[in-house]
Symmetry: C2
Subunit: 362 residues, 2 copies
Amino acid sequence: MEMDGRKRKILDAIIRNYLETGEPVGSRTISRYTDLHLSSATIRNEMSDLEEMGYIVQPHTSAGRIPTDKGYRLYVNSIVEQKTQHAEAMNSLMIYRTTRLEEMLKQVVRILASQTQYTTMISAPSYRGNKVKFIQLTRITSRQLLNVVVIEGNIVKNHLFDLTEDIDEETVGRLNFLLNSRLNGLTLMDINLGLISNIKEEAGVHADVVSDVLDTIAEVIRAETDENMEIYTSGANNIFRYPELADSSKAQLLISTIEEKSGLADFVKETRERESQGETGIQVYIGDESPVEEMKDCSVVTASYDLGDGLTGTIGIIGPKRMDYEKAMRNLKEVKKSLNNIFGSVRMEDEPTGPGDPGDVG
Amino acid sequence: MEMDGRKRKILDAIIRNYLETGEPVGSRTISRYTDLHLSSATIRNEMSDLEEMGYIVQPHTSAGRIPTDKGYRLYVNSIVEQKTQHAEAMNSLMIYRTTRLEEMLKQVVRILASQTQYTTMISAPSYRGNKVKFIQLTRITSRQLLNVVVIEGNIVKNHLFDLTEDIDEETVGRLNFLLNSRLNGLTLMDINLGLISNIKEEAGVHADVVSDVLDTIAEVIRAETDENMEIYTSGANNIFRYPELADSSKAQLLISTIEEKSGLADFVKETRERESQGETGIQVYIGDESPVEEMKDCSVVTASYDLGDGLTGTIGIIGPKRMDYEKAMRNLKEVKKSLNNIFGSVRMEDEPTGPGDPGDVG
DNA sequence: TGTTAGCACTCCAACACAATGAGTGCTAAC
DNA sequence: GTTAGCACTCATTGTGTTGGAGTGCTAACA
């Protein structure tokens, strides 16, 4: 059995109709819905074939057909191919400039959720590959130090910590010099235990203080692992818009998964993985294709974004399998673009290459 | 009609039974449940009285009775009075020391949610009344400054920002001195527009740079309003454990409210308000007593916590009206205590004054 | 050979209906 | 004041019953 043009048209019609209604679609509906002008009986024959081929199924005898994951997959692939269409202007995202990266990300998922009516997620950009730009140790009291690390991409990490013995200004100055000269320009990944013990040795008598300080820096790095990836979500309540997800047990599972975030992190990882294998652009996970068991009743559409300065992350839309894939993909593209623009302009200001108003991340 | 001891016992039995089962409770149940040894008929008479008095209602004829808000209220009040009992040791919270306040708060709500099986919330402590301890302006590049503000309670706020014109080290040094001498020791509330324009004037030629810097500080303050209060939640999925909240429409409403956080902020405000009016300890909002319309099917139990150093916030448990109030209150008390301990010990290191009493708790 | 009309069949969804039983209020007896 | 007994109410549950949407199959048609 092979797929001819007519079968494709019918399958498309079935899927499109099901996306709208969420109800199984019957042969009669299609017979009127399409411009094929075929009787329901003919459609029935074709549908029977499509079912045999695995693109659609009947939930039960004497019901219409609904798409299988395989069917959705074919449909989504075809969208991806003809993606040049839909140049229609989208009302742009209107992300307000904020000073804090975190706020900005929260704003983005929020807007995206309200615009798509789906649940949305965004991962905070990873900066493991970014270089240390500046380290500053400041003495607050004789036993309390403030450590500030500025990382490329204008990420600022600070840490206030207490010492077990007094420290004087001069020592702090020496440590500042030592740290900056040894660590500046290295990426967070470069800073490993060996290097740290090296520096500790070099610090000599103040090794224990240095140890504290370096542990702090180590913690900044530690905070940047996949396990405790920062992920923001929005629009969790939107799952109730889709009856197939809204029943108590499924909703509970989904809400937990969204709240826990560890499942979402798997999508971020998977997306990063695939992207590194050359697969670029928007990615779609349909049902069982999901890396997360709990989300097998959903589809997830993801994309990576790039703020520049090595700051990349993943943004995703979570919906029912019958989600409006085109809309989701369109919106994600729009977000990608907006994020690029936002930070494009910031970067210009960052280096004295152009004019602009102040704004930054930190 | 007045409330005698027997009526109280019966009402208590009804409520307790309803808390467990969530089902309307009938006279026969009570007749066996209590140690009063009364027949169901007698109980029926009393229940009829209790209904007339407004403590219980029948969802429909020929159903058992369920407590009204008024009934719950009486019950809760009686718990509060005899709170000395239940000295039974609770497995303590096991909050791991973390460096970041935010992480710690997230951990707390999480543990509390898993222990109570309710939805929980915690507001980040307000530090508007806290004094500026230390301000540091650092020149990263000729047009980029890093501003770090350390506030009492070891709150660190940083902000990286770009200037429209170059700045040299010397100027930065002067600004540092100016800012510290003028702002240190003031609370964030004290720093108003008048003061800021004063300082701008004083800065003379570098007024525009100072303006930028001060705007930054102003923003730290701005971030500390009720409108964008930081609130962390956990266990939103727990609402599905209670059928009376789990149906699609109610669940959606609740999930939204929890996600939006603005409603939760109202509880924080209300709790703060009441506490400032002398009402201390644990507070309980039953149904319509809630300041938030969307939560009238729930009960909310809140308490304020005090980390010392002026860092106070609110922690709350959200559940169905038939929640286990005793358990909720017990857990909140435990959390209060734990939070005090955690920061008590930190403060000990913090100031070399010795083992200070970390603020009292009921 | 592909398309269509017609028909028998299936099965979900909706509805009505009765049976069940938990629970009440009332009354009369203790 | 307490209790047993009884009639009554009503949500819930189960059981048909029906209607309709949809299918598969067959036979007729172009």
